[in-house]
């Protein structure tokens, strides 16, 4: 390609890139050029580490690409015959040493910064003021999140936590690998059966932060979303002591069952169940929810063991809700 065309294309690419960058940053505060705006000290420090690496990476990128474009422009053929050779330089030890040493120094700078920030990211702060950190257990299931609070209250897909308090998260899985992630609060930590992982956050602002499952976990991986509602300490106490129990049956239905069987059990990815009498047979349903279903004959059927690890209170809340709101009676002739 003749050089002027290459230059024009370069200008075009740079122009498009710049336009995209401007439009993007006008649209959102970071436009996807840095991680989500942090709302917890550990996420904040990860953000700082990202920016620190970003400065070096950008500088190296600019140096290399500029050198490349400059050499391409400066040493282009200009009609010289192919037989014309450049100077026969086979190498330079001093240069090799320089471009080995400088990257090592840059990487040392990056690693040092990470070591400096690491304790503030990993270690759960000692929160003596409020009687230690609040511990919430997260159980990942195909395809929902279950949160268990210190008083035994349970919520599905929606986490509630008080603002300005250290919250420690214990991450469990009951079936396959998942990954717990609320970008504004902390990074990803996998939920792996047979292991318990931990992370923490201390949200600095009341609000709702959204998260998605970070490790591919099967057909409805994309639907495995979580919302972290950060509320005032008073609202949190009120919620776990009374509202949580009242909402449990409904949220179980919506988070655990309805994703596959449809909002009112009319069927979706999974079969229609509104007329299935198993819904009102407590024992049968309990077995199905704990063991799941996996057969290829006579029909292929796979249902995850969604009720693994549930408490009696959880089953009772679901049965109650199914009986009152979902079950439409056995289908005639069925």
């Amino acid at each position: 390609m003749p050089p002027p065309v290459r230059r024009k294309l370069l200008v075009l690419v740079l122009g498009l890139g710049a336009a995209l960058a401007v439009a993007a940053s006008a649209y959102a505060e970071n436009g996807g050029f840095t991680p989500a705006t942090p709302h917890s000290p550990n996420a904040e420090r990860i953000d700082q580490a990202y920016l620190w690496i970003g400065y070096f990476a950008l500088a190296i990128l600019v140096v290399v690409e500029t050198a490349l474009v400059w050499f391409v422009f400066k040493y282009r053929r200009r009609g010289r015959p192919r037989t014309v050779e450049g100077p026969q330089i086979h190498g330079a030890t001093k240069l090799e040493l320089i471009w080995t040493a400088v990257p090592i120094l840059i990487l040392a700078a990056v690693a040092t910064f990470i070591f400096y920030k690491l304790p503030g990211i990993e270690d759960v702060p000692k929160a003596s003021a409020q009687g230690g950190p609040l511990t919430i257990r997260v159980d990942a299931h195909q395809f929902y999140w279950q949160f268990t609070y210190p008083n035994g209250a349970v919520s599905i897909d929606e986490l509630r936590a008080p603002v300005n308090r250290v919250v420690k998260i214990d991450i469990h899985s009951e079936d396959v690998d998942h990954s717990w992630w609320i970008p504004e609060l902390h990074g990803k930590f996998d939920a792996i059966p047979g292991r318990v992982n931990h992370t923490w956050f201390k949200a600095d602002q009341v609000g709702t932060y959204r998260g998605k499952c970070g490790e591919y976990c099967g057909v409805f991986h994309a639907q495995m979303t979580a919302r972290a509602h950060i509320v005032s300490a008073g609202d949190y106490e009120a919620w776990i002591s009374s509202e949580a129990r009242a909402q449990l049956g409904r949220t179980e239905w919506q988070g655990v069952c309805a994703k596959c069987h449809g909002p009112s059990g009319e069927g979706g990815y999974g079969p229609a169940i509104a007329n299935n009498s198993l819904l009102v047979s407590a024992e049968g349903l309990r077995t199905l929810l704990i063991e799941g279903q996996n057969r290829t004959k006579p029909l292929a059927a796979y249902m995850p063991p969604v009720g693994r690890g549930w408490t009696d209170a959880q089953f009772d809340a679901l049965f109650e809700y199914l009986k009152q709101n979902v079950y439409k009676g056995a289908a005639s002739g069925g």
Partner: protein, 547 residues
């Protein structure tokens, strides 16, 4: 040498001389090389079509172009096919054709084993693509097939078993091929061709083979355990029965990360061949590039758990794997700086092969730098398993390996087939793919930072999510256009391409000494090799004798 060339050709019965049978029964490294390359390019097209379907599904939010299950099959088979059926066997094919010619050998060390290698690969590939028709469809557990998701209970049906069978076949093929390359390069170099005089592409294949030999048995173990879990009822990876799900991740990535360098080192080898020829200069820092290849090969086996930073490994392990992953950036940087220095003060000729090589440097640098963010494990916790990784990985594997592939294809096509690919169409293809590639994958960095996880068949966010996804889908269409131009180019060249002389580019290495395409026995006679650039030495001697 002359005496050996007069040896009687081996007896070949009539039934083996037909147009089809001669290819099926061939043990000639050049024909096997072409079979390998053509087959892997067909798989490349297949896996590329799967990617286009995914991009179509993701173009706008809440799209219902394909079902969630179909989408999950698509990304599983796309990833598996691109890695195992396209790029690794493509290098096996290119190396098959070139390594014996570059080192002045008559054939590979074990010609029949070589044919076995190819047929194993072909059938492994067919098993993978035909697994779409298995009961329950193809595997849906990702190209890495983590248990417990890939276990029988969570993945019923036969797709996962066929996936394992396919990988076993392809792994045997690669393993046998690697032994063959090592034996050939160690033992069959022309007189005078010392280790510091072999082409850098051959250095890359030496390390490629050594890595495959070391790491393939490890994935073989992991896959066999998984197969036993699924079919025999063992529980290696089932935690509720005393197994360990993370063990598989270690086995997989101890193979999986060196595999990345198995993919990229030969591409770097191609770049190290193409750049000096089209810069009219020797490669800058031959030894530095050769030794950095060895260093990358070595360190690549010490970085695997950087794929597992979010698993919850002890901090000291995370620190170790962060540091080792950063160390590997140093020899990679050495290569890039040496390549830049090679073009410095050259007489740069922008033939298509050179454009691909320069494009490689431009985009691979980007991919290498985004890797540093992933090596720093706290940052990795934010970006891992998001589209940021998809962007990074395609900058390295597409921008690296595929650009290298096309640099090699345009450079060596005349040697393969005796005709030159059309330069004009080649340049059109390069610019379409270069622009399409960046448009496809650059916005994915931003998507990842916005919080879009990988392997999601849809999303409901609008705004920037939609803008970046749409740009990415448009980019993939532009790239496809470029690939179609290549198909047109191949067809036109086959029909009416310009005949190639022995050495159309005034190159440096031994494969250009013989005719294009080479005769079955490769060389009538060989010059004594007195440097890493035997062809240039010959040209100079010829000029001196004329003067």
């Amino acid at each position: 040498m002359a005496a050996r060339a007069q040896a009687v050709a081996p007896y070949r019965p009539d039934w083996r001389q037909g147009r089809v049978m001669s290819w099926i029964t061939t043990v000639d490294h050049k024909r096997i090389g072409i079979l390998y390359m053509v087959t892997s390019l067909v798989f490349f097209a297949g896996a590329g079509i799967l990617a286009l379907l995914m991009r179509a599904q993701l173009a706008t939010p809440n799209e219902h172009f394909i079902t969630e299950n179909a989408y999950n099959e698509l990304f599983t088979i796309h990833g598996t096919a691109m890695i195992f059926l396209f790029i690794v066997p493509f290098w096996a094919g290119m190396a098959n054709f070139l390594v014996p010619l570059m080192i002045g050998a008559r054939d590979m060390a074990f010609p029949r084993l070589n044919a076995f290698s190819y047929w194993c690969f072909l059938f492994g590939g067919l098993v993978l693509f035909l697994s779409f028709f298995a009961s329950g469809g193809a595997s849906k557990s990702g190209w890495y097939g983590y248990p417990p998701l890939s276990e029988k209970f969570f993945s019923p049906g036969n797709g996962q078993d066929l996936w394992i069978l396919s990988l076993h076949l392809v792994a045997i093929s690669s393993l046998v091929g690697a032994i063959n390359f090592l034996a050939t390069i160690q033992n069959m170099r022309a007189p005078g061709m010392s280790w510091m005089r072999i082409p850098l592409f051959v250095w890359a294949i030496e390390i490629y083979s050594a890595l495959l030999l070391i790491v393939l048995p490890v994935i073989g173990v992991g896959l066999t355990f998984l197969l036993l879990d699924r079919q025999v009822g063992t529980h290696f990876f089932l935690p509720d029965q005393g197994g360990n799900a993370v063990l598989y991740q270690h086995l997989f990535w101890f193979f999986g990360h060196p595999e990345v360098y198995v993919i990229i080192l030969p591409a770097m080898g191609v770049i190290s061949e193409v750049l000096p020829v089209f810069s009219r200069k020797p490669i800058f820092g031959y030894k530095a590039i050769a030794f950095s290849t060895v260093a990358i090969g070595f360190y690549s086996m010490l970085v695997w758990a950087h794929h597992m930073f979010s698993v919850g490994l002890p901090t000291f392990l995370n620190v170790f794997f962060m540091l080792s992953s950063m160390v590997i950036a140093v020899p990679t940087g050495v290569k890039i700086f040496n390549w830049l220095a090679t073009t410095w003060r050259g007489n740069l000729i922008f033939d298509t092969a050179m454009l691909w090589a320069l494009g490689f440097i431009a985009v691979f640098t980007m991919g290498g730098l985004s890797g540093i963010f992933l090596a720093a494990f706290p940052v990795d916790w934010q970006v891992t398993d998001t589209y940021y990784v998809v962007a990074h990985m395609h900058y390295v594997l597409f921008g690296g390996a595929v650009f290298g592939t096309f640099a090699g294809i345009f450079y060596w096509w005349p040697k393969f087939f005796g005709r030159l690919l059309d330069e004009r169409l080649g340049k059109v293809q390069f610019w379409l793919v270069f622009l399409g590639f960046n448009l496809t994958f650059f916005p994915q960095h931003m998507l990842g930072l916005l919080g879009m996880p990988r392997r999601n068949y849809t999303y409901s966010e609008h705004g920037l999510w939609l803008a970046y996804n749409l740009a990415s889908t448009i980019g993939s269409a532009v790239m496809t256009l470029g690939m179609l131009v290549f198909v047109v180019n191949v067809v036109r060249t086959a029909r009416a391409g310009r005949r190639a002389p022995n050495d159309p580019w005034l190159a440096d290495t031994l494969e250009w000494y013989t005719s294009s395409p080479p005769p079955p026995h490769n060389f009538d006679q060989l010059p004594y090799i007195s440097s890493a650039r035997p062809l240039r030495d010959l040209r100079r001697r010829l000029e001196e004798s004329r003067a």
